[in-house]
């Protein structure tokens, strides 16, 4: 990869954790909306959909956590950028985890 693009991708890494957060948000909202509209979940047996959503959420939260871990273990290059990337990665992972809280509290397709 040529130098300008390599630098640009380092900037993308700065926001990568929140790109995962965005993906989690879109996936949860999208899967839930589509499944409810399709009548996939019903009051008698809401668990297949709930478990699917929990699976989506858990996978993306783990991805965000793994990314945060990776940023902590990465060899240092640029102090400011590295520290900011690490901080945003941790906050992004926590934010992704927070998104899933309603999955355990609210009825699925009411």
């Amino acid at each position: 990869m040529k130098a300008p693009w390599r630098d640009f991708w380092r900037l993308v890494l700065l926001i990568a954790a929140f790109l995962i957060w965005s993906l989690a948000f879109i996936a949860l909202y999208g899967v839930h909306g589509a499944a409810c509209a399709a009548g996939w979940a019903n009051a008698d047996d809401p668990w297949p959909l709930r478990l699917t959503l929990i699976g989506v959420w858990a996978a993306l939260t783990l991805a965000a956590a793994a990314f945060a871990l990776w940023t902590w273990r990465r060899p240092a290059k640029d102090g400011f950028l590295r520290r900011s990337t690490m901080a945003i990665a941790v906050i992004g992972a926590l934010s992704t985890a927070w998104l899933g809280a309603p999955l355990f509290l609210v009825r699925v397709c009411a």
């Binding site: 300008p4 589509a34 409810c36 900011s84 927070w98 998104l99 309603p102 009825r107």
Partner: protein, 840 residues
């Protein structure tokens, strides 16, 4: 652009340098002022125009308050009231708030970055004309009695043809879209400028905090505006041609409009708030004598805020019947957004507490901001909780909440900024007496007008009603709000008087009267057209504190690019992370091409408004011609050696590098385009999954010809552009030109193949939302194929004329990006268009 070989210029005195640079960077007088591209001139035009619109919006607010002052008032009838409140919201949001930010950023960004101008000065000028013309369409319509009247968020079905048969809604859709073009141009401009156009040594961590705020804001504009542009285009197509995107009887959904609108609308709140917060973060250290606490944490919070604010759009739709769990996702995000906001507030408080605050007018507005915005934020948390929102939805509680947020989060910081930078804008000293009176009137008037509205709303008074009965018990609170509203208006009028009298009659101010440490104060005030005699090398965020003699040294030409040469408008470009100089940007001078392009764009929009479609087609051709001429004027016709940039260093001219600003401009343009396309996919899938009357009665005819034609065009075009670039790199110019012609032909084939779908195989677009969506997606693909053909033909013509060489190849870099984008969106479009037919 001049292509002389750079020579060794004779040293200049400070005065000589000033005169030489002023000649180079100045704007011609008289009618020549229409050709201005200088960022200070265009920025000031933006700011002044936005405040004219602010005054118009304020007069409309007074009309609203006069009507609601008492029960059963017949000052305005229902129809006139609908136009007035719609225009008040539209003017304040689209014609004041966003353009004021754009103006401030246009004016201030290069100065904060120690640069001489923005990355694309002609784009700034084009954006201004689009803004002026689009805004004028709306105001002229209002004067003609046909102003939009469906609310500033234009909800369907009220804004659809059956319920708004006049041109009122069309005026909104056309005028606002025209203004949005300006906003997207500004976003591309700011993103590229911060990435590359800084002074030497300005690494990311040395950028002033205001620059970070404006950068995040620009990114949000880049991603926030395209969904609304898409929504506006779809609604206008529905109104003009009866394509039923929002008609539930034919597979459309009014909720799709709400999603697209609020995908823009909620980030918009933060797009408005963040520059205001940036002003606060800039002035607070100056007036407390204490460095901003938590610089890095504020940047982290900003980035978090930028993302989370997009995950909140449906909290404006809690009452639309979305399933509870989905609401809970948005509610979770809505509560999350409090944290990065609070990080900033605590950082400000810590700065305040650890410093010794001076009570200036700017600081008074800071205190006003803090108290008002915190109240607005807290009521925001209340309406983020779904059960409470259901009680307060569409009542005057929401009117109070949004005004506390917008006045607190934007207007007060902007007023703080006006008084902070007034000596910079005018070069004159400000006496605070009149300003303090105005502040008192504004604070008292605002709180007495809007605090009671919380109660009026909780007592049940809905928004957008033109009158109410005396028996409702809302009359006293409304009277207080109306009287106070007029006090608020008097306060703003005094601010205008104050600013005008300072600009006209104020005593000369010394440079940097506040003792600030950022670079905008390192230049004469009011600033000359070129900003600074030479560009500094910075080693911290506080260059003027590090070296109080820096302004004089820069005026002496001791920094970068201190010697004008060859009639070039030069500014430095840097490595995006380290801030080390890596190229010299040669910027264009005054030209009428942005005005002509904006006029052609205006002709397109106005002819569409009046349904003169042949004229729209002519306007499109004119836009292409203007665009061609615009781009043609840039670049070099001969390879050039690196030039001396001062401080014993050399750097190549931008046309000789692999990543000139044009490349990044294309990257950010394609990002905005990608968001538009993503919103289109979302809309299509949303209708398919959620809207009634699906599946559609008829799908595309199943045939292989058109998809294979498009596929062949994509494969050929991509291969041709890559082969052409390689041939150019190996100095095989004739081969390279042949490949460019092949890629132009491939673009035409894609356009033809995509257009064939609605002509030959799709159901009539007015029969069902599916058919309308398929036609729109085909049109999108055809349009991008056509642009690919034009860009390839342009690169061919440039190559023939000697503008491209193995070293000067930005046309190929940009073309490859466009074709890559076309390849990706083309494949997705084919899947969306033909997938359902082949799977059925």
């Amino acid at each position: 652009m001049t292509d002389q070989t750079p020579g060794a210029p004779a040293p200049l005195s400070a005065i000589g340098r000033h005169k030489a640079l002023e000649r180079l960077w100045g704007t011609p007088p008289g009618w020549g002022a229409l050709s201005a591209v200088n960022h200070s001139t265009v920025g000031l035009r933006f700011i002044i125009t936005s405040f004219v619109f602010f005054l118009i919006g304020g007069v409309l607010a007074m009309l609203i308050r006069a009507q609601l002052a008492g029960p059963e008032t017949d000052f305005l009838d229902a129809a006139a009231y609908a136009q007035v409140f719609t225009m008040h919201g539209t003017v304040m949001m689209f014609l004041f708030a966003i353009p004021a930010i754009e103006g401030l950023a246009l004016y201030m960004l290069p100065k904060l970055l120690g640069a001489r101008d923005l990355a694309f000065p002609r784009l700034s000028a084009f954006g201004y004309w689009c803004y002026l013309f689009g805004g004028s369409i709306l105001i002229l319509a209002m004067l003609g009695g046909v102003a939009p009247d469906s609310g500033w968020f234009m909800y369907t079905p009220l804004s659809s043809k059956p319920y708004s048969p006049g041109i009122n809604s069309d005026v909104w859709l056309i005028g606002v879209t025209f203004v949005e073009v300006s906003a997207v141009c500004a976003a591309v401009e700011f993103m590229t400028t911060v990435l590359k156009i800084r002074t030497g040594g300005m690494a990311l961590h040395r950028m002033p905090i205001m620059v970070w705020y404006l950068w995040v804001t620009a990114a949000m504009m880049l991603f926030g505006f395209p969904p609304l542009i898409l929504g506006s285009v779809l609604l206008e197509l529905e109104r003009a041609f009866d394509w039923p995107f929002f008609d539930p009887t034919r597979g459309g959904s009014p909720l799709l409009w709400q999603h697209l609108f609020w995908l823009f609308g909620h980030p918009e709140v933060y797009i408005i708030f963040l520059p205001g917060a940036g002003i606060i973060s800039t002035i607070l250290p100056v007036f407390t004598g204490q460095k901003l606490v938590g610089y890095a944490w504020i940047i982290v919070a900003l980035i978090a805020l930028g993302f989370i604010s997009f995950g909140i759009w449906a909290h404006h739709m809690f009452a639309t019947g979305i399933p509870h769990l989905s609401l809970a996702f948005f509610s979770a995000a809505s509560t999350l957004v409090v944290i990065p906001t609070a990080v900033q507030i605590f950082a400000w408080l810590a700065t305040l507490l650890s410093g010794r605050p001076r009570i200036t007018l700017s600081m008074l507005y800071f205190y006003g901001f803090l108290s008002t915005f915190v109240i607005g934020g807290l009521t925001g948390v209340m309406v983020a909780v779904v059960p409470f929102d259901w009680q307060a939805h569409d009542t005057h509680f929401i009117v109070a909440h949004l005004h506390y947020v917008l006045m607190g989060g934007f207007v007060f910081p902007v007023l703080a900024g006006i008084y902070y930078w007034l000596p910079h804008f005018t070069g004159r000293k400000h006496l605070e007496g009149l300003g303090r009176t105005a502040f008192a009137l504004i604070m008292i008037g605002f709180n007495a007008a809007f605090l009671p509205m919380h109660l009026t709303g909780l007592w049940g008074m809905p928004r957008r009603v033109f009158t109410y009965g005396g028996e409702m018990g809302w009359d006293l609170l409304n009277l207080i709000s109306s009287v106070s509203g007029f006090i608020l208006a008097i306060g703003f009028a005094l601010v205008v008087v104050d600013v005008v009298q300072v600009a006209r009659f104020g005593r000369r101010s010394r440079r940097n009267p506040w003792g600030a440490s950022t670079l905008e104060w390192g230049m004469p005030t009011p600033p000359p057209a070129y900003n600074i005699g030479s560009q500094p090398h910075v080693t911290s965020r506080d260059p003027l504190e590090d070296d109080p003699g820096l302004p004089a040294a820069l005026a002496r030409g001791d920094g970068y690019l201190g010697q004008p040469r060859n009639g070039w408008r030069e500014t430095l470009s840097v490595h995006m992370l380290s801030g080390e100089p890596d190229q010299v940007i040669l910027l264009p001078g005054p030209t009428l091409i942005p005005l002509w392009t904006a006029l052609a764009t205006g002709m397109f929009f106005v002819s569409f408004l009046f349904k003169l479609y042949p004229l729209s087609a002519i306007a499109f051709v004119l836009i292409v011609i203007c665009g061609w001429r615009w781009m043609w004027a840039s670049g070099l016709r001969e390879d050039a050696a690196p030039v001396d940039i001062g401080r014993g260093q050399t750097a190549p001219l931008h046309a000789m590098t692999a990543d000139p600003p044009t490349l990044w401009g294309m990257v950010f343009t394609l990002m905005a385009n990608g968001v538009f396309f993503g919103a289109l996919i979302f809309g299509y899938l949303f209708l398919w999954v959620v809207a009634p009357a699906w599946p559609p009665p008829a799908l595309l005819a199943r045939e292989p010809v058109t998809p294979l034609l498009v596929l062949a065009g994509l494969a050929t075009g991509l291969a041709a552009v890559w082969r052409g670039a390689r041939a150019n790199g190996e100095s095989r110019t004739a081969d390279s030109q042949t490949w460019l012609l092949v890629s132009a032909a491939a673009g035409a084939v894609i356009a033809g193949g995509a257009l064939a779908v609605p002509i030959f195989t799709a159901p009539a677009p007015n029969s069902h939302a599916y058919a309308a969506a398929v036609t729109f997606i085909s049109g999108y693909l055809a349009f991008h194929g056509l642009i690919a053909a034009i860009l390839s033909a342009y690169a061919w013509a440039r190559s023939r004329d000697g503008w491209i060489s193995p070293q000067r190849a930005v046309e190929f870099s940009a073309l490859r990006l466009w074709w890559l984008y076309l390849g990706a969106t083309g494949l997705i479009s084919l899947a969306l268009l033909h997938g359902p037919a082949w799977m059925s």
